[in-house]
Symmetry: C3
Subunit: 484 residues, 3 copies
């Protein structure tokens, strides 16, 4: 690969057909300059509260990126293996066992990543990183075994500049509002600090109570204790459990939160009667709960979360269907989120029925549903979002947040649900430097889809431009309104 | 949106690529003028028997169209809500409770629809309505809040013209034959009246016994009573039940019917032994039947319907996989078919096995299978239709009867089943004025698909033209032959 | 259809867009001349060991081709039926009952096939046969009822030429290595004969033990007896059963085998404990095994096969998800593999977990997973192959080995798993003359996909060329390495 000048082509990710591309350019010209509305992501509030310089290139860009780690690991031992990489620990992921070895030299981790660059051909990781390197880091060369050190030194120097501090980038990226994801027991101190500095409407928390809702997990008692502590009450039964959750939701609302987020394995929302719920919760506290009871309770609690959303106005986000920690030994040794989460087939039509029948027409309720099982877009989710006022179909998520994935989403969804029943783009990223890349790619793919409709005479160009602005900006704003 | 002159682009819904589009035009030039064969639809025979002028624009075009109603409802309460629309009742759907309020002013309903026009961007509803407005109603302006009244008055005036009566439109649309859908107990009086006027071969009934086959539904006793009355026998046991059904099928055949139609939740066709079937039917009559028994009986009856089709020659149409009436409260209040039917994953390979093993090679049997679960096109339905002589794969149905849905269908099906194992287009519409739009769109999408094969040198142009004519005209004729 | 000169267009199966096509041509120019690596197929070793002239055209090209047989059968009795064809027996498939009639005249079978030529429009069969006729058989005319006899005589004459002997074609086709598929009890005499003639590294066996792993099948005792005989031990219990299988695997390795092949209905790989496995095996020997036990045992044995692969280095190929012999009466009369195998939905994420957790990171293990259920490509298989070092995602299989099927596979897989986690192309064919056609088509489709990435500025042309060579040549070589 020659060290070509590292610039991004203005037509990247636009459709090949010249007429479609021309129309896409016209749409993109109107959407590319729009502010970024990032209502669902995993950047930490501390990053912006502290506004400290970023660390080394590997710790910033390689080790925490599960897309990247998994690709390098996937080739271990094979003909294209990156030397030295047998597992996530060789890319800096720290084992739970303090005595277990792992790579601690960021330059060595960086070299491994650069050597692996060809593996990312055709992936969104490649697209996002190209954007990050060219636009954010002004890299002089592409990653490769040969250029690794030069690139490392360049990025290190860049990261030391004041202009590369998180808040400076926030401005430069044109972020209008950024939502973090926070556990129910979070004190939201960083959000408070940001608010005190006038950033309260720019960085808002999201209430994510997942660990509290699965009674049979090992860390549930600790989570419940932390919840009680944060809420200032002891959780001793179902009533105090609900009260503590309500308390924390109110605290989140007060801190500017607009949404909750729920990552259950299935989408089941079947409620239990109160006595049964109380009985199971008690079994959870007594650590005698069964797996079936815990599953039923987590479904029940999704229903309760919907009911509380009706009360307090928090948008409810649901993204089920991922079998987390597929290799239990890897997760035992290295922890979660290192690339071993695998999507599974997920049912929505029957599972969401309880919540939609109860609250689907309530003017105070908003449910945004995400999936990585793309078979349900045309079959279940577009038909549901296309009739229930409360429901919006979330942007294509995780592995589907990709050029062809996003195109297929629009093709599968639009004909049944239109555009206004979708959430608009959410980036779902923990990689702060990639936020512009992700919104850029989404706007390009949507411009390409809309442009095809224009050239096929299914939409006028002015409508397509207006719709492009909806998808990039207005719909995410409308989907996640401020409360109060 | 400017009030552009309301004309349809001749290349609408054709592929963007110039070479593919040019070939598609050549194919379309041969298929566009072909007569319409509408072998599966939901237009009432009374419409043509009475040949009365249509009512007001809203009652004709808005209230009965579930695609349209659901889209407006889906935005209720949100940032893009149409003022006044909270549910189907606000678009004229009459509640079951005679005291419950609903909108009765057609002009007000019309205004709501026109205001909602931007919501239909990218949907087939938009395409169908554009065609209807431009070609059938010669509308001077597009729908919008501003143009609603002008459009209402224009359409009202048009509908008063003799040329807009149902039979005149039948001729103008170039309909060669139209199949209605009728309950088993229907006396087919309108069909008889039409036959007496020489329209007997142009409007034919379809036998749809669904309510008779689900023993645990509340209206089953009434349905069975109606069946018995129509058949002139009392249904007192399994034998008289089957005999009454046979009697009605014969009456339908005599009235020109060519097909039956079955809309079960699942595709199961497993037969019971006669004693067990008789026992469950008796439990149905005694109203002691269980849900499991009723489900088993309905599967058994699909097998019986196939067996009767072998006897009497009626083509058997099966379109399972829709969870009807998803919001039971809405349906309780407003009735079925107002937009709350949601597709679910459906198994076909094992479910159809009993019928296909028994009759799949019988020269007198024809089974046409439809689905809205597009995952089964390449996995199950194309492989099945591609080997069993009795089976044809129905056109993409409901939410998939759309530009991209129909394209994906051809792409998923053709490589395994070819073209001749598909049914050709069926419109499945209850919107009489949209019939030409639906056939027009299907012919365009098929022309585009065939043209791509031509430009990719996978098919010669003369073959593509011949195949286009097959899909638009010859295959639906062959799939639903006249009996006797 | 005019008898156009029978030549193949150089741009066949390349994308329509001119810029994409131009880039695809550049990629194809580099991949088209590469040798053929055919690591998974169903050509018999005896074909090359004997190197005898092929028989008549029908016996070579029609009767054994289940794609072809099923298409002709699917139209039986209908408006487009080929006269004389009611079932596979009318195309030369010999019934099990020696008294049952079947067509024995190859010329008559040939005429039926030629008459049916229009049925193959849009199918890969058409593409493969065009290639075979034009490039291998130098046919002067296309198949049709009119040209059938001329074509028969021409092909007959061609097949008599020394240049059309299997080994001469092997050279002409540019096959570098060909893998056969062989039962566990195979003595591999033909492979030995080939090795003695210096062909040992060009034709290698594959170990396929399926019938041994399903204890409740009628032929299991005979299979086990054959296994014991081949292994030189009597199988009397679980230990001797495993030992015999190990013995045969070793014999296959010694004969140059590189892989095993497993065609179970599901993908379950859950192991049993040894005592339970031994108990079920004993029940199998006693013919008292239940269907559930047999199913659990077959899953257990997949786990054992993986464990043995870790020991002996044979690549493990798994291709589940086909409901074989859908019409049991047809199979009873005519045997398997005549077109009645139907794909079903198949779960992979949970099913493969036992094997992947146990061996997914083992440097000595390689698992290649195939599917015909394309819904799992983006949902389960690409995510799994994209993280576990041992796993590769096999080429699109059977009904998906088609222009649009292969394109969808790349679109669904690449963004999550990249290219290097796929197997590269395998042809899976038993039709020897079609081998070049299948590799040609795959190279064209991959060139088209890569070219689109180039024109969309997602990949540089030099990268695309290199990747095209990977997919066509390097990856299949790397996926199936030689042992020892």
């Amino acid at each position: 690969m020659p060290a070509t000048p590292w610039t991004l082509h203005p037509d990247r990710a636009l459709p090949a057909d010249p007429a479609v591309r021309a129309a896409a350019r016209e749409i993109l010209a109107e959407t590319a300059p729009l502010p970024i509305v990032a209502m669902h992501g995993h950047v930490e509030a501390s990053l912006l509260a502290d506004d400290a310089p970023f660390g080394d290139p590997a710790t910033l860009l390689v080790t925490p990126d599960h897309y990247l780690v998994r690709m390098l690991v996937s080739q271990a031992g094979g003909a294209r293996a990156v030397p030295g990489v047998r597992g996530p620990q060789d890319l800096g992921v720290r084992p739970r066992d303090p005595g277990a070895p792992y790579e601690t030299d960021p330059r060595e981790i960086w070299r491994r990543f650069c050597t692996a660059w060809p593996l990312f051909r055709g992936t969104p990781t490649r697209f996002w990183l190209e954007h990050t390197f060219a636009e954010v880091l002004e890299a002089p060369v592409r990653p490769s075994a040969e250029t690794a050190d030069e690139l490392y030194d360049h990025v290190t120097a860049r990261l030391a500049l004041p202009a590369m501090r998180p808040r400076a980038l926030f401005e430069r990226f044109g972020i209008e509002i950024l939502s973090t994801t926070d556990p129910a027991h979070a004190r939201l101190d960083h959000h408070a600090a940001l608010a005190a500095e006038g950033w309260g409407e720019r960085v808002v928390p999201t209430f994510r109570p997942d660990p509290l809702l699965h009674l049979d997990r090992a860390d549930w008692p600790a989570q419940v204790a932390a919840l009680g502590e944060a809420a200032g009450t002891e959780v001793v039964d179902y009533a105090s459990y609900l009260a503590a959750i309500r308390d924390r939701r109110a605290a989140f609302v007060a801190a500017g939160a607009r949404a909750t987020d729920h990552g259950h394995l299935g989408a089941d929302t079947t409620p239990l009667d109160d006595a049964e719920a109380a009985r199971i919760l008690a079994a959870g506290l007594a650590r005698t709960v069964t797996a079936d009871e815990a599953r039923a309770f987590s479904a029940h609690m999704l229903f309760q979360m919907a009911a509380m959303s009706v009360e307090d106005g928090l948008v409810m986000q649901l993204h089920p269907g991922v079998l987390r920690d597929h290799d239990r030994d890897v997760v035992e040794r290295l922890g979660p989120d290192v690339g071993y989460d695998i999507p599974v087939a997920t049912e929505y039509a029957r599972s969401l029925r309880p919540v939609l029948e109860a609250f689907g027409h309530h003017p105070g309720f908003r449910l945004v549903v995400f999936t990585i099982d793309e078979t349900v877009f045309s079959r279940e989710l577009a038909p549901l979002a296309g009739v229930y006022p409360a429901m919006r179909l979330g942007a294509p998520w995780w592995f589907l947040d990709s050029p062809d994935g996003m195109r297929r989403y629009r093709e599968a969804v639009t004909e049944t649900a239109g555009f206004a029943n979708t959430s608009g783009f959410v980036d779902d990223t923990r990689a702060y430097l990639s936020i512009p890349a992700r919104h850029d790619l989404a706007r390009r793919v949507d411009a390409g889809y809309l442009a095809r409709l224009v050239v096929e005479h299914r939409l006028d160009l002015d409508e397509a431009v207006e719709t492009g602005i909806d998808l990039a900006y207005r719909l995410p704003r409308e989907t996640y309104p401020a409360i109060g």
